[in-house]
Structures are given as C-alpha cells and as structure tokens.
Symmetry: C2
Subunit: 139 residues, 2 copies
Amino acid sequence: MRRLATRTVLFHQAAAQSLGLFPTDLKSADLLNELGPLTAGELSEKTGLSSGAVTALIDRLEKAGYAKREKDPKDKRRVIIVPLTAGKSQVKELFRSLSTSTKELTNEYKPEELDLIIQFITEAADIMEQEMQLFKSKS
Amino acid sequence: MRRLATRTVLFHQAAAQSLGLFPTDLKSADLLNELGPLTAGELSEKTGLSSGAVTALIDRLEKAGYAKREKDPKDKRRVIIVPLTAGKSQVKELFRSLSTSTKELTNEYKPEELDLIIQFITEAADIMEQEMQLFKSKS
C-alpha cells in the first residue's frame, strides 16, 4: 500500500506539473468531478485545506479553466464551485494510458476476485479520508 | 482506484504541509527509505522530476534534516543521497494512525484473500511506475 501510495503521489505530481498545476489542484478538480459542485467550505472540508488555501486553489482552477464560481441556482446567496475538467481533453489524455493499463490489469482477475479487491480498495479509500480528517482536526 | 488515488494525494498533501514540505519531498524521502541511498540522477529517474527540480528537492530535504549528501563509500567520485527519515519520530507519528487503521483493515481478510489483494496492489503500483516513466519520456 505504501509503495502504491508513493507511486500515486509521484505520478500525480508529474501529471499536474505538465498542466501547470499543483497535484492538489488536479485532485481537487477530480474531487469536484466526482462529487459535483461544492461550496468553498465543503471543498475545504473534503480536501483538508484551510479556507485561505481553498480560495487560492479556486483562483488557480478558474484561471486554468478547470472550474468556475457560480451562484447556486437553488440558493442565490450561495456560491458553488462547478467542475469543468470532464470536458478537458488534456486531462483525459493524461489519464488515458493509465486507465487502459488498469483496465487490462482488472481483466486478468475473475469477477468474484474483483469484488473482493474493489471492497478492499473502497475501504482503504474510506480510511485514507477518515485519517485526513483526523489529521486536519489535529493541525 | 481513482477514489483511492484522490484521497492518497490529498492525505499526503496535508501530511507534507504539516512538516513544511511539498508532497513530492515527503514521498521522495520515502522512496529513499525504500530503495536505500541513490544518486541525484537515480532519484530524478525514479521520481520523474527534472535534474534541476531534484537538486532543489535535495536542498529542501537536507535543510529539513530528512536526507544528506554523502560521498559514496564505494566510489568517492559519486555523491549519494542518504535517507534520514527512518529515525524521524515526526514522520512515524504522522503515519502511525494510518498504519494502524490499515492493519485493522487487513485483519478482516483471510490470508488467501490478502495474497490476492497484495498481488493486485503490487501490479497496480508497477503500472503507476511504468506510466510515470512513459509520461516523463513524453514531456
């Protein structure tokens, strides 16, 4: 798990660098894609970044065209951050080869084996998220 | 896998930040711990960072006390980067809770299930490393 984590961080560093972004910027944009539009406060909670850091992050994402600030159509007093990465061919291209290789890897396993692996990875992701929250509450 | 990757990047960002380091710095130090002393050239190859970026990285690691430059005892003309993180209680403390939670997670699985999961995760880490190298050769 530690070996995978090291390679994950380094891969995303290289990928983000090639787009002129910080690794956190790229993954925050990814988080927006996964969860849908969030307020700055929600993004701060999910990323573990301070509210000042989140403001700077949203500025960078807006400037690079990966997200934009919009008034929440359900509540005009709220500002939400809307992801724009889904349509970005540059980002898709970046992860295409990784995505293909990962799919090829999963093809080598039986459905019941994949169920087990997906369960483990989902639980590991939950742990990582809980740990980040714990960590944030300590600092 | 993507969800785990996002949480991994964000967790390491928060962890590195609390130590006054960039996420790549922390993982590069971790890579040194895993692989043993490397030259700057080898570190550049393994991390996917340019040689200029690696020089700056080693400067930061030295300054923070996570690594030091030394003459290779086997070849005095070579300079190797020696990891010092293993003894750093601050770094251990940072990952202790994550490590405990991950161990608890693995205890829920049977040995043969863990063999399968470890195999998959090892292969996924190999893919991530290959993709980073591919990526580096393109940029």
